[in-house]
Symmetry: C2
Subunit: 146 residues, 2 copies
Amino acid sequence: MSTDTDNDLSLESQLCFSLYAAQLAVGRTYRRLLNELALTYPQYLVMLVLWERDGQGVSRIGELLHLNSATLTPLLKRLETAGLLVRQRSSTDERQVTVTLTEEGSALRQRAACIPAQAFDASHCSPEELASLKASLDQLRHNLDQ
Amino acid sequence: MSTDTDNDLSLESQLCFSLYAAQLAVGRTYRRLLNELALTYPQYLVMLVLWERDGQGVSRIGELLHLNSATLTPLLKRLETAGLLVRQRSSTDERQVTVTLTEEGSALRQRAACIPAQAFDASHCSPEELASLKASLDQLRHNLDQ
DNA sequence: TCAATATAGATCGTGCGCGATTTAATTGCA
DNA sequence: TGCAATTAAATCGCGCACGATCTATATTGA
């Protein structure tokens, strides 16, 4: 594909670009699926974390999603405004903000239950392919994070 | 991994989240590498396109990168302000804007030549792994775009 | 020929991401 | 005890992404 003297800035649109484009495509797919729930894709990820374990601090959520407070704070405020969760300062450590689902936030889980299957259908890939892809991506992310 | 009655919204943080997190990690890696060139990662992708074939229209660039004009127009204006390219209305079709590299924009290619190898090193993955990952991602994106 | 349609970019509004900085609370240790 | 260092969020500024809409130009066909 490239000569040995070629620094290959064109083909370099290789993995990094494929990953970028695939992520944008997944984002578009989830935008359609989540439109009904009035959630964005990053908001959905936060809800996944809270549905799995409610009452976490902002830092812990950021650790799990690899996002920092500059991203999370406004996102959580929007979810609070939407009535899906409550942010309150911890009484034992006033520096921390505990994020807790509201009744409505918990209930939304039922309506979201169909999302994974729909996303799977849209991928037109086998479970084996997707599992292998996931493993490679996790490995890559881990390596890049040192 | 999950029971058959489990809708698995937790494990669902499966592929979609791995892809999301991997893309963020790659973005952070490239941010470091591109800092020297004063380019952002999306700007770098546009430059890759132009280094490969100069003098394209905005739509064509958007087609190649899967980005629309709402994203590209301001991005291209920033690259123009930086002196890397020129945007001018086509004389044959006044609707089109032709994007052309400046001397400086073309020259930047030399300084970018080391980026792919550095990114490869940071991945700590084998070429085979990365090629296989790229193929899966391209397939996935293609399927999601229908 | 000229009004309907299509096409190319630009613009607007919203919501991420994140480096850098700030504010406030807690901890540690001299 | 007291104050420097640390930690947790919040804030600021910038640059994507993109749905929706707008403007200008080009095409088309009755």
